[in-house]
């Protein structure tokens, strides 16, 4: 897990928590045996967490390999 944002500044406690959830959703999206209700809602949630973490300059990456 990163300790700094894209500009190299230390993360706040809230930012760390947001990044943690974002990473957890990415991990979940890797599974190919989740039930449809989980697989699709995880992807939807991941797309939303991507916005938050990208808006706050915590990450900038593409998620299409996860189907997001």
């Amino acid at each position: 897990m990163m300790d700094t944002d894209l500009l190299g500044r230390s993360l706040t406690a809230q930012e760390k928590e947001l990044l943690h959830i974002y990473q957890a959703l990415k991990n979940l999206a890797e599974y190919d045996d989740l039930p449809p209700c989980a697989a699709h809602n995880v992807r939807k949630a991941l797309a939303c967490l991507w916005q938050v973490t990208n808006d706050l300059a915590l990450q900038f990456e593409q998620l299409s390999d996860l189907g997001v």
Partner: protein, 453 residues
């Protein structure tokens, strides 16, 4: 609950040096992604001898070749349906939209992933929040909800904000007005043209919209949203503040918005875009305060990387300090001022439709208009302004005709404008992008040999 004035306080008020550092990080990653995944961009980067690792400062941006709509259209024709721009498998898409066809015959077709589509709504959130939309608002979309991307992203933005959203598709103008009043709508989203039409129609129905609950009208789709005379008319008719936004199908959403301080222009969302202004002929950057062409790089869409895309929009960039709202994103003074390819040459004088509209909108007696360009006896180009007069104001016509012709001539190096009065209801009305310019001059015919030369 006390809300921040900014959707994203961290980035929207970021010192410009940090903002530019962030843009550089994102630009490098975007170019790496495009080079690795999009054959279109890889081919163009190779041809220009450009590699993403050459991006060491933001000034290195100019090493990247400019991208045009013509190249995009050619790619679509060569590799139907989407060209070879796509950076990921089309199976990952959840949305398909296409341009409204203002320029060129081939529409631009776009696909979005779940993440890209969510980002599209996110950009509208920056704009709507800045203009004061909050969860308590009731937002009405006077929009057809078709293949044109239009206000689609704004609809989802308002759901995200937590406002009550009323989709006003597939309804008559009268039906929309009744719903706006009945539902206590506080925010109306529309093109400037259609917002004027709604106000006029409401008046005919005996409804004064200034007495309704509407306190914000958010405009998009046409440059007129930043024309002071249009804004003044709308604000008076609706008894509400009018805010301009502008976007494009090529990036899927808005890139500029007017904040509630209404600085006479639109802030650029600079943590998600790099917006350059260049001289369209020399391609050199132009300084603050000078008219130039807007060139966009978007960090949002992963599906279709948009890098140094020539928009053909005419803009004048001014520093963020022009506005006192606290945002550090620079401003396009007067929003989008028209399109370079909209310019018409009439007997040697340049005529821009938006400039003509700005003058026409100063006349409150003009209800609808059309700019009609034609050729007299196959020799001389003529420009005629066809106008419809607001009912009850017909007596103003003789004076209006003379004064309007003089005002237009004065703004166009003495060029003679013909002013023609039309019967009410003859000129077309528009719900989406208005097309009030008709160029009826004959298209030159060339022989096959000339065309092959």
């Amino acid at each position: 609950m006390v809300y921040s004035a900014y959707w994203n306080p961290k980035n929207e008020t970021m010192p410009r040096a940090d903002l530019q550092a962030l843009q550089l990080v994102k630009l490098r990653r975007l170019c790496e992604w495009a080079y690795a995944r999009s054959p279109f961009h890889r081919r163009r980067f190779d041809a220009a001898d450009f590699r993403p690792e050459q991006l060491r400062t933001l000034a290195d941006l100019r090493r990247i070749p400019l991208m045009t709509r013509e190249e995009w259209m050619a790619s679509q024709l060569e590799h139907p349906l989407f060209g070879d721009l796509l950076a990921t498998n089309p199976r990952n898409a959840i949305r398909y939209h296409l341009t409204s066809g203002t320029t060129g015959r081939t529409p631009i077709r776009v696909l979005d992933s779940i993440k890209d589509w969510e980002w599209i709504a996110e950009m509208w959130c920056y704009g709507f929040w800045a203009f004061g939309v909050r969860p308590k608002d009731v937002v009405y979309f006077a929009f057809g909800y078709g293949s044109f991307i239009g206000f689609w992203g704004a609809h989802y933005c308002c759901e995200k904000i937590g406002a009550l959203v009323i989709p006003g598709g597939a309804q008559t103008t009268e039906g929309r007005i009744r719903q706006i009043v009945e539902m206590g709508v506080t925010t109306v989203c529309s093109t400037p043209t259609y917002a004027l039409h709604l106000a006029q129609k409401a008046k005919e129905m005996g409804i004064n919209l200034a007495n309704s609950a509407v306190n914000k009208v958010i405009l998009s789709g046409e440059p007129a949203g930043s024309i002071p005379a249009v804004k003044r008319q709308l604000e008076e008719a609706w008894g509400a503040k009018c805010g301009d936004t502008a976007g494009m199908t090529e990036c899927g959403t808005i890139m500029i918005f007017e904040c509630s301080h209404q600085p006479g222009g639109t802030h650029i969302i600079e943590d998600h875009y790099i917006e350059e202004v260049i001289n369209p002929t020399t391609l050199d950057p132009v300084p603050y305060g000078e008219l130039g062409e807007r060139v966009i790089t978007s960090f949002g869409r992963g599906f279709i990387p948009l890098i140094r895309y020539r928009s053909r929009d005419m803009v004048v960039k001014v520093p963020y300090t022009t506005c006192d709202c606290g945002r550090t994103g620079d401003i396009y003074d007067g929003g989008i001022r028209g399109r370079w390819d909209d310019m018409k040459v009439i007997r040697g004088t340049n005529v821009y439709p938006r400039a003509v509209e700005a003058i026409l909108r100063e006349y409150q007696a003009i209800d609808e208009f059309q700019i009609y360009i034609w050729r007299r006896a196959d020799l001389q180009d003529e420009i005629t302004i066809r106008v419809e007069i607001v009912p009850g104001q017909e007596t103003q016509w003789p004076e209006l005709q003379q004064k309007l012709a003089a005002d237009l001539a004065s703004a166009h190096e003495g060029l003679r404008f013909n002013i023609e009065r039309m019967e009410r209801g003859v000129l077309p009305r528009f719900e989406l992008k208005a097309r009030r310019l008709v160029d009826a001059r004959p298209v030159p015919e060339y022989s096959r040999e000339e065309m092959q030369r």
